[in-house]
């Protein structure tokens, strides 16, 4: 499973000014409502054949759910924010909002600088293309010119350690090889604000030291970091601030130790 990858989407809402006094990210009262399509009530338990019938008639209803409501926080330059919360609390949704993929339904979000999200490793990789071609394709996707990409190819090759495989189509690669290439490519440019989703904490078994080092170097280099993970140890070592999410709302925003303590308390109560 290569559920690691990164994607970079520079979509700064406001990108001018560089006073280090102004926070990198200011979110005020963020709310996101999302339409979902859901099949009508039906019971497969009484008759499994209904599965085909209702699919053919495509009976469904459309409803709106609220994924985030009234979220406010800010991230100052140099700060590292850890987003904690149970599954479905809205962590990934919040990261997508910050990456500029979703626009808030209401509220204000201002992001200063280029954000890059490391969300899902398989993204933008073309299985039919060779490793080398993929470096160029991803580089172009990230807004680089061919010349710039060419100058970075040696360092990518050096990290990915693919040897002669670099000229073979990606579909012949093992999961580990794909992961190495994807990480190497995605970390070609250093973003101002780095957004990391859970994978960094959960992939530990095959998350070798080398990749970890590369991501850590990226974290060091960025002016701001927002990471969503369940891994409390990782979070307390990386982050300075914590944001506890519950059902799309902020339960706590403050120093990381207090946030973790509060989260662990809530987990025990459940």
């Amino acid at each position: 499973m290569t559920d690691t990858e990164l994607a970079g989407a520079p979509e700064p809402v406001h990108g001018r000014l560089d006073h280090s006094a102004t926070p990198l990210i200011v979110a005020e009262n963020l709310t996101l409502r999302v339409p979902i399509i859901k099949p009508h009530e039906r019971s497969f338990l009484t008759s499994p054949l209904q599965l085909f019938g209702s699919l053919y008639l495509s009976r469904q209803q459309r409803l709106t759910v609220s994924l985030l409501h009234g979220l406010s926080f800010s991230l100052a330059s140099g700060e590292r924010l850890g987003v904690i919360g149970p599954n479905g609390a809205g962590k990934s949704t919040l990261l997508r909002l910050l990456a500029g993929i979703y626009q808030p339904t209401s509220g204000r979000l201002s992001v200063r600088g280029m954000t890059r999200g490391l969300f899902d490793v398989s993204l933008g990789m073309n299985l039919e293309a060779t490793g080398l071609e993929n470096i160029y394709i991803r580089g172009l996707h990230m807004g680089m010119r061919l010349g710039e990409i060419r100058s970075l190819v040696p360092s990518v090759l050096d990290f990915a350690e693919l040897g002669t495989h670099i000229d073979k189509p990606l579909m012949t690669y093992s999961t580990g090889m794909r992961l190495r290439l994807a990480i190497a490519v995605s970390t070609m440019i250093e973003p101002d604000i780095l957004l990391l989703d859970e994978w960094i904490g959960t992939g530990d078994s095959y998350f070798n030291e080398k990749i970890k080092k590369r991501v850590m170097a990226l974290i060091e280099g960025s002016r701001g970091l927002i990471i969503a993970t369940h891994n409390a140890k990782l979070m307390s070592s990386l982050c300075t601030r914590g944001l506890v999410l519950e059902n799309g709302a902020a339960a706590f925003h403050g120093p990381i130790d207090e946030a973790l303590a509060l989260y662990q308390n809530r987990q025990k109560q459940r």
């Binding site: 990858e5 990164l6 994607a7 970079g8 989407a9 979509e11 999302v34 339409p35 997508r96 990456a99 500029g100 993929i101 979703y102 626009q103 999200g117 969300f119 899902d120 398989s122 993204l123 933008g124 073309n126 039919e128 293309a129 071609e133 160029y136 394709i137 172009l140 996707h141 990230m142 807004g143 680089m144 010119r145 061919l146």
Partner: protein, 258 residues
């Protein structure tokens, strides 16, 4: 003008990404993108003679008419049929924030144009075989082509947004385009005096006819009626203006719909 140079850099990268994708798509085939020439050529060779007979026209008038019409039609359907699913197919890229929505739509437009350009040699061969050598007509035809592509831009951007919200759109568009192919003079020629042929004056209400006409007629040495130019200009301008405002209001919802 830093903004302009950024725009052209972006356009440049999009062309490179589209070309990459276009070529890699054919990697495993033996003939590669040459398939784009083989398909329409077969169509023209096999059906050209037959439909010239059915329509009681002379092959040396009809075959060039069919060739140019068919290749323009390929471009038009490429715009309309790809558009409604553009964002659905790019779901991963959008949700991982690889490319902006505008760039994804632009990639689709560029790919259609690349395919079109790749098919132009068919027209050249047909013109050579039938001794057609348009001179000034080429320039006029290129102007028509610019408007055809400019309309492809708004059609793609508009249908892409609508298609993300209403999944039925893709089926609807395909059904309409199948009929439009037959009611547009590609496989048949409008009678010279009564321009509409079997369709009578209804032909004038077919926007596809006007768009093909401004590209095809100058090449074949026919004059384009002023009415066709007016339709093309108005549709292109109005469509792009409307789509601009539509996109400003609704584009941001696309990631939530797909």
């Amino acid at each position: 003008m830093p903004e302009n140079s950024q725009l052209s850099t972006n356009l440049n990268s999009m062309i490179q990404i589209a070309a990459f994708g276009f070529l890699i798509n054919y990697r495993k085939t033996m003939v590669g993108p040459l398939w784009l020439l083989i398909g329409p050529s077969l169509f023209i060779v096999v059906l050209g003679g037959l439909y010239a007979k059915i329509g009681a026209t002379e092959p040396d008038k009809f075959i060039p008419h069919l060739s140019v019409g068919l290749i323009c039609w390929t471009l038009i359907t490429s715009f309309t049929n790809q558009a409604p699913t553009v964002f659905q197919r790019a779901r991963t890229q959008i949700l991982q924030a690889g490319l902006s929505l505008d760039n994804i739509a632009m990639l689709s437009i560029i790919t259609s144009v690349i395919i079109f350009i790749h098919q132009i040699p068919i027209i050249l061969v047909v013109f050579f075989l039938y001794g057609i050598s348009p001179t000034f007509g080429v320039i006029q035809s290129l102007v028509g082509l610019v408007f055809l592509i400019a309309s492809g831009v708004w059609v793609t951007r508009l249908l892409a947004i609508l298609g993300a919200r209403f999944r039925d759109l893709s089926e609807i568009v395909q059904a309409i385009m199948r009929i439009a192919f037959l009611v547009t003079p590609i496989l048949w020629m409008p009678a010279v005096a009564e321009r509409g042929g079997a369709l009578g004056h209804y032909l004038l209400y077919n926007p596809f006819f006007h768009f093909i006409e401004v590209v095809r007629a100058p090449l074949l040495g026919n004059t384009v009626e002023v009415g066709s130019w007016i339709v093309v200009l108005v549709v292109t301008a109005a469509g792009n203006i409307f789509t601009h405002f539509f996109s400003r209001s609704y584009l941001r919802f696309v990631p939530l719909w797909i």
